[in-house]
Structure formats: C-alpha cells, structure tokens
C-alpha cells in the first residue's frame, strides 16, 4: 500500500510545508460526529413531520416553524471542527445542526431549544435557526450572509485582546452574492484577522441554482479580490476538508490572516422541510444518495484501519444513545411560561 505510506506524513514530519493529515483518532472522531449528526437529523426529520400530515401546516407539531437539515453536509462540519477547541468561535447559518454538534454544543439543550422548551439553550426564544451556546462560542443567524461580519468581529476581538482563538464563518454559496460577504472578506484581509470563511456549496439557493446566480464558477476565485488564499475543495470529502481547513486555521493562528474555503458538498434533504424540490433536475436526488459521505468514510476506515463491523455497530449504538437521550431530554422538558417572553430583552 505505497500510497498509504506517502499519504501518512503529518505536519511535523515535513519542514516548511504545512500538510495536515488526520491521525486515526481524528478520523474516528470525524466519523463519529458525522454519524451522530446524521442520526440527529433523521430523528428531527421524523419528529418534525409529527402533526404536519396530511397537510403541511408549519405551525403544528412538537417542532413547529422552519427546519433546515444538514444531511450530506457533515464533512464540512467535522473537517473544520477537528482543528478547533471550545475557545474558537463559530458563526453558522440557518442550517446549523451538523456544525453545532461538531463544535460540541450541548446537544440536550440544543434539542430542547429546537422543541421550544424552557431548558433550551435560549429558553425557547431562538429555536432551530438561532442556536447560541456561549460555552463553546457557537452562534448562528437566519439572515443570509450575516455570519461573516460577526465572525470577523470575533476574530478582531481576540486579536485586540491578544487572546488565542480563530473564528470560523459558515455560509452557503448563495450568500457569496450578498454584499456583506464582500465587505467582511475585504475587512478581514485589510485588518489581517484570524478568521476562516467556509462556504458550503450545495448548488441550490432554495430554487435557484448556483450557475444561474453566480458570476464565477468557483467562489474560491473571489478570494483573490480580497488578497487572501482561496481554496476550492471539489469533493465532499472529510479528509480533504480536514487538510485544507487545517492549513487555513494554522495560518490564522499564526497571524497570517484570513482564508476562504469553498467546499462542494451535497444537500440530501430539501432546502427546508416541506420543500417539494420540483426545481431539482430528474435523477439528481438519486445520485446524491449514491455519494453519501458516511458510507464512503466507513469504507475508508475499513480499508485503512481495518475498521470492523463490530466497531461500527458499537459506534453507531453510542451515537444512537446520544441522540435518543437528547430527544428524550427535550420531550421531557417543560415549556416556559408565556410571560417569560418578556424577559431577556435586556440584561
């Protein structure tokens, strides 16, 4: 297995050339988070539909409102978060669950928040699009493109205070056409901020395709306009993402400024739950299922580390337990009193 030996050079072994290769432990960590994340989304998807059949009324059921699931996009979360600790900052989007899980957000409280319960991260005030966990410096917003400025600001804060930490902004490829994106990248570059911008390109902004809306073939090419490295990752591959994100994060930590990473990922679910997805070309959804990153990763673990079915079942059982416990925690939690809506406007 000659290829294997050459691949397995860690950053410590090659002077002057940062190459990030995950260790076996890191690979298993990534796989574990991908599986947990996927189980979570599948569980949420089922519960979300409770009370919403036969007719889809968004207000009904134990999880009302909008829901944007991350099935298929797990590699984008784990490949980046494998390099982060709890002091690093993430600002995410309306599709946050996979990133939240990989960042170490309290899953019980996050789930309770999605269910609108008193024990939720925000006592039910935020819901699925507004997940805030200050303990691990995680937040997200429902307005397209608004993550980038906030992440740049967090990076600025660390730099000004001389404190360690890198900020990561997640955004979709549609957000790269929003003014805030261009302003934040420019600002981050001018002020040499320790921030990494991660575009999850799933090719669709609701019903409008990337080709129909974007002036460049690769958003990573736009980085040149802001004098920062632009990295294009053409595969939804946790390993490539790990490597490139690792380099970018290392650059940021070393005071070398921001990076733009663009990952071509796959959105296996609709834009939002209930999305009829009539705009997708025929066969596209079926193809996406074929290139699901999780079975591919399991195969990689098997080929590289002789990952067995028993190990896999044990990992999945553990992931299942974590997800089930979070759901149960949410279901068992009480709703807040209505008047609590008036609290926490100001401190």
């Amino acid at each position: 297995m000659a290829g294997f030996a050459q691949d397995n050079l860690s950053s410590h072994d090659r002077k002057g050339d940062i190459t990030m290769t995950p260790t076996q432990e890191q690979e298993i960590w990534m796989y574990q988070n991908m599986v947990t994340s996927r189980f979570f989304e599948e569980a949420i998807e089922k519960i979300y539909m409770e009370g919403k059949t036969p007719a889809f009324n968004m207000a009904k059921g134990p999880i009302p409102g909008e829901m944007h699931l991350s099935n298929g996009q797990e590699p984008c979360a784990v490949g980046v978060c494998a390099h982060l600790n709890k002091d690093d900052i993430i600002v995410s989007t309306h599709r946050p669950h996979h990133v939240a899980i990989a960042k170490g957000v309290d899953l019980n409280k996050m789930t309770a928040e999605i269910f609108g319960k008193k024990n939720g991260l925000s006592g039910g005030r935020g819901g699925h699009m507004h997940i805030f966990d200050a303990n691990v410096n995680f937040s997200c917003s429902g307005i397209i493109g608004e993550s980038v400025g906030v992440a740049a600001g967090a990076a600025l804060s660390r730099k000004m205070q001389g404190k360690p930490g890198v900020a990561i902004a997640y955004l979709g490829e549609g957000a790269a056409n929003q003014g805030a994106f261009h302003e934040a990248l420019n600002l981050a570059s001018v002020w040499k901020l320790p921030v990494v911008f991660v575009i999850e390109d799933n090719a669709w902004g609701i019903s409008v395709s990337k080709q129909a809306s974007t002036a460049v073939k690769h958003n990573s090419d736009r980085a040149a306009a802001y004098s920062m490295p632009g990295v294009h990752i053409p595969d939804n591959d946790p390993i490539q993402i790990f490597e490139k994100a690792g380099e970018a994060i290392e650059r940021a930590r070393n005071g070398e400024g921001p990076t733009l990473i663009e990952i071509e990922t796959s959105r296996l679910a609709g834009h939002f739950m209930g999305d009829a997805e009539a705009y997708r070309p025929a066969g596209e959804k079926e193809h996406l299922v074929e290139i699901d990153p999780i079975p591919a990763f399991k195969k990689r673990l098997h080929d590289r580390y002789r990952w067995t079915d028993e190990q896999d079942e044990a990992l999945r059982a553990q992931a299942r337990e974590i997800v089930d416990a979070a759901i149960q925690f949410a279901r068992d939690s009480a709703y807040p009193a209505p008047e609590e809506a008036l609290e926490k406007v100001f401190v």
């Binding site: 059949t53 036969p54 007719a55 889809f56 209930g274 999305d275 009829a276």
Partner: protein, 77 residues
C-alpha cells in the same frame, strides 16, 4: 340530476390524504365546467380542483377537512 365533485385519482401521486385549503366559490354559486373551485394541499404542494360540470355548487366538505382521492367534496346540480 346532480354531478358529484370527486377528488380525481390522478390529481397527485401516491395515496396521501389532502386538506382543503380554500373554496374559490361559495356554496350555492353557479360554476362552469372547468372552473377552478377549490385548492387542496398534499404535504406542502397545492393542487387545483376543477368543476366537472356546469351548474349550481353545493359544498359538502369545508376548509381544513381532510379528504382522500375519490372523496366527494361537493355536488353540482
């Protein structure tokens, strides 16, 4: 002699139930064949129900009622 307004079997795929989300004519209104008379929702998609005949419509099922393919939701006389 009245005509039943049935939910057509080919209005949507699969056998999911639907909910009436609007009546676009009132009970007792006169309709022409082919007029759009109601909207139904299956999951999140809205479908149009059209009058199979000309005459006076008598509504049998209301907004928010759950209906299935083949159900009679009104009659036209």
């Amino acid at each position: 002699m009245s005509t039943e307004v049935l939910i057509p079997n080919d209005l949507w795929e699969e056998d999911d139930e639907a909910v009436i989300t609007s009546w676009l004519v009132s009970d007792g209104a006169s309709v022409s064949e082919g007029d759009m008379v109601a909207e139904l929702m299956v999951a999140k998609i809205q479908y149009e129900l059209r009058a199979p005949a000309t005459g006076t419509l008598s509504i049998l099922k209301e907004i928010d009622d759950v209906v299935a393919k083949g159900d009679c939701v009104a009659t036209i006389a």
